[in-house]
Symmetry: C2
Subunit: 200 residues, 2 copies
């Protein structure tokens, strides 16, 4: 792409997304105005429309980017040997990835109701893809006799809710470090599905 002298387009775009992510997470999409976002970036409100067609797209793009990043990182995990190791790996990955992106995570599951139908469907499909990865681990583990699960779908949703819950309280520099939190949650996840072996 050709550079345009004196332009800031390559820096302003990311800064707008960062400001929007921060403000949406803190105050909520509906409570944040385009003027506030512009003020945080240091431009006037009209300038935002060079980078996004409207406020709704700004939200949808943030959520899509987050979920696509989550899926890509999850797909890049190395193969783990056996159901227990796979579940422990998933639990640690999920917590680590979410702890590092509290704003994006918050938005991704608090602002679903502010998405227009078409955007909602797209985001929901991505979320479900991710859910399916955990469900596959649980299903395989149950088939192999490694887990005791009355209902695979329910266990999937219960585990994701439990693991995602860390973002409600975890703070950098708090009583427990990231590694400890990952270990404790992975252990609880394994126990919750009645894992027989030891792989936490």
């Amino acid at each position: 792409m050709a550079r345009k002298t004196g332009s800031h387009s390559e820096i302003t775009g990311p800064r707008i997304r960062a400001a929007a992510e921060h403000l949406f997470a803190r105050h909520g999409y509906a409570a944040v105005s385009m003027r506030q976002i512009a003020a945080e970036v240091g431009v006037q409100a009209g300038a935002l429309y060079l980078y996004t067609p409207d406020k709704q797209s700004l939200l949808a793009d943030l959520m899509r980017a987050h979920l696509e990043g989550l899926l890509a990182a999850c797909a890049a995990l190395p193969e783990a040997p056996g159901p227990e190791a796979r579940l422990a790996q998933f639990a640690r990955f999920h917590i680590g990835y979410h702890i590092e992106r509290p704003d994006a995570v918050f938005i991704a599951y608090m602002e679903l109701r502010n998405l227009e139908p078409a955007n909602f469907a797209a985001i929901e499909a991505l979320r479900r893809q991710y859910e399916d990865r955990l469900e596959a681990i649980l299903r395989d583990g149950r088939a192999a006799g490694a887990f005791t699960i009355p209902d695979t779908k329910l266990a999937t949703l219960a585990l994701i809710a439990m693991l995602t819950g860390v973002t409600n309280w975890y703070r950098e520099g708090g009583r427990l470090g990231r590694a400890e939190v990952e270990a404790i949650y992975a252990d609880m996840a394994l126990k919750a599905v009645g894992a027989t072996g030891i792989a936490g």
Copy 2:
């Protein structure tokens, strides 16, 4: 209290709270206008201010009422014999109570950021009281050797997140009934804390 002939004050007040609860849960506090609430009730916007000093109080009152009801219902539970029974009872109670009030639950943990500082502190104190009830069960159970928990506070937060997660997907008339869901979750909660006995 004296009745005023031709007045609707005893019916309009509750209807306003019900409409606000429904709309706040569906679209979010910031996205709902006083005019929308009034329209749902069937009055003009100005009439709302006979029942609430402002929009913020409407939100805070809904959240306080929900949490006070939750605490009262929790306190009214019969004594259960032993740590496993106590935890199973709590898990079933939590799920049952939350499943029956999806709107209030949604608001109570999605709209915290829209509370003014004084209201936030009051609501947060109630939430913490409830959390402490579960934490006491886990602490006692660990002391009695019935549970295996690396960190009591973490286990508390993990279990509450897991149990509250039901409200994200549970629908009346769905694949699983309330009793089944309660049983499955109570079982997972007991396993997650390494319960030794059987009381699910």
